[in-house]
């Protein structure tokens, strides 16, 4: 967010300029994570930590956040900070419900996207055409959207059988898909409790069975987003608007148009996130169902360093934490302390051995030891902190990672055509 003060956010360049990690590095990290989860399971004996049930729930809880984050990605890559995601999601919940009720589940998807896009259009109008501060516009939009959805729900669902002012009747369901037969075979492996192998089976099972089509669409949209933004001329132009709109303008790029398109797409994606909540996560629209997920989506996007892969990881982390605390409560989260110990230890050793940073590495190792002791002397995380564990995690992760992040350079800046040369 460049429109706000830049203190503390100066990029401290790395001693050795590190660029994007190669693909295999990501793969190795994912493998290491699975391995660590297996260790945690074996040591703690808590099978639910990475069971297919937990992972499925994590995926379902992550999707709305991922949609919102993807929306944020589009908008911020084009240089428009979008804190209005929350409002666009709210519009999407209503749109999804309205569409499903009147045209079937597929119309629900269209309705959610359309309603979100309307929110995006308003945000674009305010920020791009009128040059309103992006955060101000987003906050205002959130207030309007909550009101509009609430009013429209009262007006259109209040009279329906099974509906009320704050809730729609049950919505027709989107189909679920999966690879036939895979579920049983993988369950068989998972229940064996084999080190590592069972974890892999659990992951595969979560990814191949009982997926809502909207989940599949969402995952596909990640691939599509990556392709469009990083591999097509249009995407290049969108990104250039977020990096340096003035430069783009001097090359004949219609900056306003690209910003508009990106912000409207952003709205549509956030709307789909809302639609996911009303149509898939449950099958009714309920007031205040979004409950801050738009903001979490924004945080996930920042966590993901304004890139689709990182954003997916961020949403996944949040979904995972939420699934764990909802399903297993404090005892499940307790097992995570061990995981955190291992991660911190790994980071600490890496810092000391590879980068020679004694202090940072040392701190990480010390914290790891503290967490380990905590894990050892307690046997549950107090239920009082479980409900906000995901938020606390987000905050901590951002606190640790923020300075390594790099947002689009002109993100949040107000751009006027013909000014700024």
């Amino acid at each position: 967010m460049s429109s706000d003060l830049s203190v503390g956010t100066e990029v401290v360049p790395e001693a050795t300029p590190k660029r994007r990690l190669p693909l295999w590095a990501w793969g190795a990290m994912a493998l290491a994570l699975v391995l660590a989860l297996s260790v945690v399971r074996v040591v703690t004996g808590r099978n639910d930590i990475a069971s297919s049930g937990t992972l499925s729930a994590a995926l379902a809880l992550a999707m709305p956040i991922a949609f919102a984050g993807l929306g944020g990605l589009w908008s911020e890559r084009a240089g428009v900070v979008n804190i209005g995601l929350e409002g666009m999601m709210v519009l999407g919940t209503w749109g999804g419900a309205f569409g499903s009720l009147h045209g079937g589940p597929w119309m629900g998807i269209v309705g959610a996207a359309l309603c979100g896009a309307v929110g995006g259009l308003i945000h674009a109008l305010a920020t791009v055409t009128f040059g309103v501060d992006h955060i101000v516009s987003g906050v205002a939009l959130n207030i309007v959207s909550v009101g509009a959805a609430s009013y429209l729900a009262a007006r259109f669902f209040g009279e329906l059988e099974g509906g009320s002012d704050v809730q729609s009747p049950p919505l027709p369901q989107l189909p679920k898909i999966g690879i036939p037969g895979a579920g049983d075979a993988l369950s068989a492996v998972e229940t064996k409790g084999w080190f590592f192998v069972s974890e892999v089976a659990a992951i595969l099972k979560a990814l191949t069975t009982g997926l809502s089509v909207l989940t599949v669409i969402g995952l596909a949209l990640f691939v599509i987003t990556f392709y469009v933004l990083w591999r097509t001329p249009f995407g290049l132009r969108v990104r250039s608007c977020g990096e340096s709109p003035v430069a783009a303008e001097t090359l004949g790029v219609n900056v306003y148009l690209h910003k508009y398109v990106a912000v409207v797409i952003s709205g549509a994606l956030a709307g789909l996130g809302g639609g996911f909540l009303s149509m898939v996560a449950t099958n009714i629209y309920r007031e205040s169902q979004v409950d801050g997920r738009g903001y979490i989506g924004l945080a996930a996007m920042i966590f993901g360093n304004w890139r689709p892969g990182g954003l997916l990881a961020g949403s996944g982390l949040f979904g995972f934490m939420d699934a764990l605390q909802l399903r297993g409560g404090g005892t499940a989260l307790h097992g995570l302390l061990l995981l955190i110990t291992m991660l911190l230890l790994a980071i600490g050793l890496w810092q000391v051995l590879r980068n020679g940073r004694m202090i940072q590495g040392g701190i990480a190792v010390v914290v790891a030891v503290v967490v380990f002791v905590l894990w050892f002397v307690t046997d549950s995380v107090p239920s009082d902190i479980t409900p906000f564990a995901p938020h606390l995690t987000t905050l901590l992760v951002l606190a640790f990672a923020s300075q390594r992040l790099r947002m689009p350079k002109a993100d949040g800046m107000i751009y006027r055509r013909g000014e700024g040369h």
């Binding site: 937990t54 099974g162 509906g163 996560a281 449950t282 909802l326 399903r327 239920s383 409900p387």
Partner: protein, 325 residues
């Protein structure tokens, strides 16, 4: 505030009827929540039909304070209401305040019996949720094969704690070794409005071996039923007979419901008022009074009905006192 508007109410229904105008003030959500508020609305509708009273309804908006609630009650008085029923303990202070200022108006509040709402002209309608929960707890334990059952509450507040306490006591009464896992969904009202959370929590319980889960989580409960359906296990409904009100495709997983007959309480109250009684003080709707009960729709508890009725009798007779915390 003026309250003399009997002239209006008779002209409205064009019939004989009574000169009582009965009005409901809901918490956020209002009519149509398929739970608590709906149950109250049902009582009002019945009164309208059978007692021919005139009615009105208003609902609260998100995040308001006691003054706003009290103002709402006063607006109702101004629009001619003579019997005002506040649905939910959230109205306690508002009812207390409004009742003091309008001694000629009958008030009632559901789920609160505290000093805050007490008054000469206030009926405090409360329920022995722990007793009903005790019965469904017993049902759960009787039906459980895994000896694991679960309880999901919307928010960790004393009212919902009563459900949990009764449920646990009932289950333990049947099987002292039974394992009862408990989860509260959120810190704020969202715990009653987020079926996705209910579903995830219930899935966790089923995956960990529970085979019956009881929810006291309002609108989030529909997620619990979905989870039960997917896991091919059972769930217990709350407030109304959810085997009748839940979505059709999940009704078959509902073992029973802890019915809390808010409609009965509302109707009875209005009836008493139309008959000229001013009600005041705490009126407890317990098992004995038919205020709470377990439901039998679906026939899933037919085989254990005798046992359940036995427990019921013990409570009614006072042989068993169900804990509330």
């Amino acid at each position: 505030g003026g309250s003399d508007s009997t002239g209006d109410s008779t002209s409205a229904e064009g019939g004989s009827g009574s000169d009582v105008k009965a009005c409901l003030a809901y918490d956020v959500g209002g009519r149509g929540d398929q739970s608590f508020n709906d149950s109250a609305a049902k009582g009002l509708d019945k009164a309208k039909d059978e007692l021919k009273v005139e009615t009105a309804e208003v609902e609260a908006s998100q995040g308001e304070n006691d003054a706003a609630r009290e103002d709402r009650l006063n607006q109702l008085i101004e629009s001619g209401c003579t019997d005002i029923i506040a649905v939910g303990y959230i109205y306690a202070k508002a009812v207390g305040g409004a009742a003091k200022e309008n001694s000629d108006i009958q008030f009632a509040i559901i789920d609160d019996a505290s000093e805050d709402s007490a008054g000469e002209n206030v009926a405090q309608l409360t329920f022995a949720e722990e007793q009903g929960s005790y019965l469904v707890g017993a049902a759960a334990a009787l039906k459980s094969k895994s000896n694991k059952v679960g309880f999901i509450g919307g928010v960790d507040v004393p009212l919902i704690n009563k459900f949990q306490a009764g449920f646990e006591a009932g289950a333990k009464a049947v099987n002292p070794d039974i394992e009862v896992s408990t989860k509260y969904l959120a810190e704020d009202g969202s715990g009653f409005a987020d079926p996705a959370k209910g579903q995830t929590a219930a899935e966790g319980m089923y995956d960990n071996g529970a085979d019956v889960v009881y929810h006291a989580a309002g609108g989030s409960g529909s997620g619990v039923f979905k989870a039960a359906k997917a896991a091919k296990k059972m769930a217990i409904g709350v407030d109304s007979d959810q085997a009748l009100t839940a979505e059709e495709d999940v009704r078959d997983v509902i073992l029973t419901s802890m019915v809390k007959n808010v409609d009965v309480a509302v109707f009875d109250h209005i009836k008493a008022v139309t008959e000229g009684d001013m009600q005041s003080g705490n009126i407890i709707f317990d098992l004995k009074a038919g205020g709470v009960d377990y439901s039998t729709t679906g026939g899933k508890v037919d085989d254990i009905k005798d046992k359940l009725d036995g427990y019921k009798q013990e409570i009614v007779d006072g042989k068993v006192t169900v804990p509330t915390k």
